[in-house]
Symmetry: C2
Subunit: 421 residues, 2 copies
Amino acid sequence: MSILLKNVQLNRVPTDIFIEGKYIKRIGAALPDVADTVIDGTMKAVVPGFINGHGHAAMTLFRGFGDDISLEQWLTEKIWPYEKEWTDEDVFWGVKLACLEMIKSGTTCFNDMYMRFPAVRQAVEEMGLRAVLGATMFDYFQEDTATRYKRETLQTLTAPRSDRISLSIAPHAIYTVSARTLQWAADVAAANDCLLHLHLAETQTEHANSIKNFGLSPVRYLHSLKLLSPRLVLAHCLYIDDDEIRALADHGVKVVHNPNSNLKLGSGHVFKYTEMKAAGITVSIGTDGAASSNNLDMLEAAKTASLLQKGWRNDPTAMPADETLQCITENGADMLRLNTGRIEPGRLADLCLIDLKAPAFTPNFHFVSNLIYAASHGSCVDTLLCDGRILMQNRYVPGEEDILRQAANAAQKLEKVENKK
Amino acid sequence: MSILLKNVQLNRVPTDIFIEGKYIKRIGAALPDVADTVIDGTMKAVVPGFINGHGHAAMTLFRGFGDDISLEQWLTEKIWPYEKEWTDEDVFWGVKLACLEMIKSGTTCFNDMYMRFPAVRQAVEEMGLRAVLGATMFDYFQEDTATRYKRETLQTLTAPRSDRISLSIAPHAIYTVSARTLQWAADVAAANDCLLHLHLAETQTEHANSIKNFGLSPVRYLHSLKLLSPRLVLAHCLYIDDDEIRALADHGVKVVHNPNSNLKLGSGHVFKYTEMKAAGITVSIGTDGAASSNNLDMLEAAKTASLLQKGWRNDPTAMPADETLQCITENGADMLRLNTGRIEPGRLADLCLIDLKAPAFTPNFHFVSNLIYAASHGSCVDTLLCDGRILMQNRYVPGEEDILRQAANAAQKLEKVENKK
């Protein structure tokens, strides 16, 4: 299978891109018109497919179910009691909805943690996206609970999967997983050369409880457990100091910023991007699950990240557009250790074609500024390729009507359960 | 001319809406199918057209021209030297581009201040939107400059205009307009029953200079000049204290929050929405010009406003979705003293049809949450009516290709002038 992108704008210069199998093979002017599929790129720009650094895909089923309430009420009344009700099939359709939404907004790869791994994996396989999947581990400081989740995690390692899907070991957080289970997870990740993916330093409460319960702040606690490593991917990291940033950098830890989720849940608004970048930390951006951020739009997340840096610092030069685009492409790929996120021969063909015939791209002084600050939403994506396959063309994804209907049906269970209470 | 919206969802209930001339006439189930135009509203929701509380439409021409630089450098190197170069025709196409962008993102009405009023007015008339237009006044504390701008302002009062266009008197700010000219503007606004529209308390620098130069904070300075009145519309108001909020409320002053502009220019992130609402101030939301916020998308501005409140307060219950929608509809209409912003018989037919066949509206537990937090972008708008006329249907606006081309041509002047420097 080969695809030729004809006359598409790469860094504002019209060019052709030839894709063979999964890979970008050639980039240049006027490549020969010999390919199984030719896509006209006139008035379209090409960027790497976006990489969603942190989320819980199946939680699209919770979209709009519990907004504008306190974090504790949200978790204990609106999320945890209902999550128990999901079947494999519900989760399957929730993930399909998430994949559809990601495809329609330009995302080709995402880093996920959730329950019911086989259903998640199956949905991602069918939708054609690239993903790093982890089965969330809890133990609530109980030995028997730990045993159950460890078994589930070990099962993920032997499950069949295509090479679009990588695995992570995904303990939930330091307030839901004991030190022993965290260390077990780190050992399994090391033995299998997987990423270790967890939430950290998301709220003031978590920070305060960490000091109260462990005598250490969250990052220092992880450090004391010897969990800091280049394999570690931390979501959030709002409550960390300069010494902790230094420690994360020294150990090659990666950080995912989820600005819309942090704002919406009232977790906080001060993310130290500038300091982390200066220290050499690879920072990527995520949407978090649709239960907290409500959508999975990486361009929106990117704009919020950039504007928030400028806003709380009173500094319009903070996190410029080009760096922000890097966060959702190159940095995401580096964090997930994938050969994608850049448009070069030899890279995986995960590509996004942007429709330039829109007010947001007029005038066109600075394409990346227009993409991040003006378009700032995935609706500008016209065509999406992942792994050398076309997942969306002219904004149409095959089977989308069925996914919307099935996911809506699965989510109705929430209202039924609510009415019984 | 009559239009029937058939089977459209209003507050999640399918209904029909009959429009005659400029007005909504009847709302109800199964209205008779007798109208000049019938629009099928199946799988569409209807909301009031959005109202953009503050902006400078023609500045779409500056989109992406000066990002990620300091506020002073931006104004003195990227905006003011170039604005002098605009001709009437440039401004005309800049405003047409802005109107096109607003139509495509669901805005039916906007509150504008800019130069070259006749060109602005002509573009808005042709595009069919509703607007409150003001000719920006400066005097830089010079008598002769004041005389020139006063003359221009008086000319706007006698210019021909349709009843879709109202006028404001629009002195720029307290640091560019003298006390005498501010008072002259207030007198003219009172005599002609116009709104008085100005920027206030946008930056820390403005606040500090106000105290230095006038011995009073910005709001107290306006109060000392007797400018506070129900006619006064203030954009920004980031740097105000509780007593000043009380004074604005007591005098019926209206406030426009421009969150994306405030963040992007590094002006600040602490807008006291909750306190203003509690005091009884009518708060609306604006995008500001595309030179600072980069787009004119009111749903994006609404989401940022809501999330920012929750974020800096560490309070997820702040500014819930329904209140946020009110800000960009009812509150905008009340502020601009227009019979719109609500869907009721007798109101002007300024309406937005939202396409529900999208991941952002699946599942559909809470339509307004999905609109503000998940769709969060004007691309969900399928059809737009203003003043009882269809401005967009199936996302197509007649003449849009020509507007994009002409506006891009006009903006090219910036690069030409830059190259000469």
